[in-house]
Symmetry: none
Subunit: 190 residues, 4 copies
DNA sequence: TATGAATGAGCCTTCATTCAT
DNA sequence: CATGAATGAAGGCTCATTCAT
């Protein structure tokens, strides 16, 4: 039967369906048919909203990153916390993001061109946001290491990898981060 | 025209062609036809040497990892250097491997099942080898941080990422490593 | 150019095309491309209606057997005829079936797995139906030979073979059948 | 290693290998590679002895039929037996042939064009040979039915089918044959 | 908006056949 | 005689994309 919906809603539904399948099976192994089935519509309609698979991918990824970014932003910009709390909070959120959807990685690792989109995009946003924190720390004297942004970058990527390899104890990460950023012991509480 | 070659040579050529395309475009987007074309032979011949695409992939990956491992082993097991030199040497080699073939990552990141094979295999081997060094360092008192292996793991993955993002100055890496492992300044020379 | 048709019609057309080629060239030597060409559509569309060649074969065979069965049933179950008329009628129909589509045999003999499906299915149905007649004849005293069902089976198969070898005079068959079943001369009229 | 053999021997070996595989898997599903492997030689050599697969098939089938014929001939032409003994003997042999190598049927049923070759060839030879017997019987007054050759043909084909469907009791066949050829009870002894 | 039949290109794989050695 | 590397033409199947309704 023929169900008409608000275009915006439909589009979001398709994006959601695509995102779900992309994460689960990878982009290459997800066909437009699959997406249509998952969204409970016909292939034709998918093409009505997205010119091509490529466009669908692009938007799905944007969607993805956007959601993550949003969450990060909200928390990190809170002005009520001190440096260490913010860092802690941010890390907690980061782990949440990683664990809740190991899918970020799934999506990323699974797909060629997309990898850059997601990883870079996520890292850029993480760096942008966390970077401000870092700068703040540097200015406050809370952070004294050199190349703080690069170190942050290494941490962000490396931690995600470690995590996906099974190391998931927050305490360990806290210690490692303190150590790596040369922060006082116990300053990070995840 | 018909050019016969020593099977060993042919096989290597095919493996090389496959490796090249896999790195460049990803495995899924490289067809057996592409491989044949790149190797300047017919599809049929590819199948003469490899029962299936899967087998070709497997061997190409093995090939890949093997070469990297070999190089790492050779250098790291040299008994003539002290801790810092070995670490330096190893890092130099690591960068060489990464830079020469960003392909490791390319290959790895691009492909689902393959990702594990390569990354795990490479990381395991890097950790195995470097791990010994680290342990040595711990025993010697050269290394005093906690979770040294995890930190190493983070560094290995994170550095590769940073590198592939365009940061390629060895000095920076040296500094970061010294800092992260809490080694004396200037101890690492890449 | 693009011609849309009622799916049911299309499906039947494909089945018909497949049936035709299967009979003519054998299943193995008929490719999905051939079927598509014969049906004047693209391969893709064949796969739109049938998941695989196997499924197409299965349905084509079912189609085939079904039609034959249907006709046999209708006539043999008529209650208005006596034993000999029924037998005559049935034989007439049998020859019709054979001659109209020598294909039954063609299809059957040509294909390994399929052979059983068709031949067994057709013979079973023929035996089931004719068997009732035979039993009736035995009870009426119209048939007095031993192993009547086996004899029937031999006749059914053997007649088809003879027929396909060029012997097609109904009178000859009538005589042979009378003789073989030990019926009065002239009782069978094809 | 390179083993040279008498060409005639080699050819026979290849024919034997082909025959074996053709019976076991069917002609279409037997590749020239398979034949070469079975004969423990290379594909090239198969083509040295047989211009094409078709030629190999042809000769393999001839080979096949020839062997069967030979056996039939030998027995049936013995002058020491009376009509009924010869018929009995011939039937015994026929069953032997069928049972020993249901392969005849296998080969036959499985392959399109080949079916005719084998079946016709075998039937022709059976008819030729048995036909003489039948004629003898007719002349002697031992056989009084009409269309004796056609009946024979039906029996030959029908019996093989019945046999392959599981009915394999010689007594039943003897009875059926006596009955069908209108011979005295007990005259056939298989 | 929405449907779903239809297309066409491309993919992995198999195999009969050839040919330089 | 014999080898086995090399070719080329299909074959079964999938899927992104289009289009008439």
């Amino acid at each position: 039967m023929r169900i008409s919906k608000d275009p915006q809603v439909r589009k979001r539904e398709i994006l959601a369906a695509a995102g779900k399948l992309f994460e689960k099976y990878g982009i290459d192994k997800t066909s437009m048919s699959d997406v249509a089935k998952e969204a409970d519509i016909t292939k034709g309609l998918v093409y009505y909203y997205f010119k091509s698979k490529e466009e669908l991918i692009e938007e799905a990824v944007k969607n993805f990153v956007f959601e993550s970014e949003l969450a990060l932003k909200n928390i990190i910009q809170a002005d009520t916390m001190n440096f260490y709390s913010k860092l802690s909070e941010m890390l907690r959120l980061y782990f949440l993001t990683i664990s809740k959807n190991l899918s970020i990685n799934a999506l990323a690792k699974t797909n060629p061109g997309v990898y850059e989109l997601v990883k870079r995009s996520l890292c850029r946003s993480a760096l942008d946001l966390a970077g401000v924190l870092i700068d703040e720390g540097v200015m406050n004297g809370n952070i004294s290491i050199s190349h703080p942004r690069h170190v942050l970058s290494i941490l962000i990527g490396g931690i995600a990898d470690l995590y996906s390899q099974g190391v998931q104890d927050p305490k360990i990460f806290a210690e490692i981060i303190e150590q790596t950023l040369h922060l006082p012991k116990g300053s990070i509480k995840i």
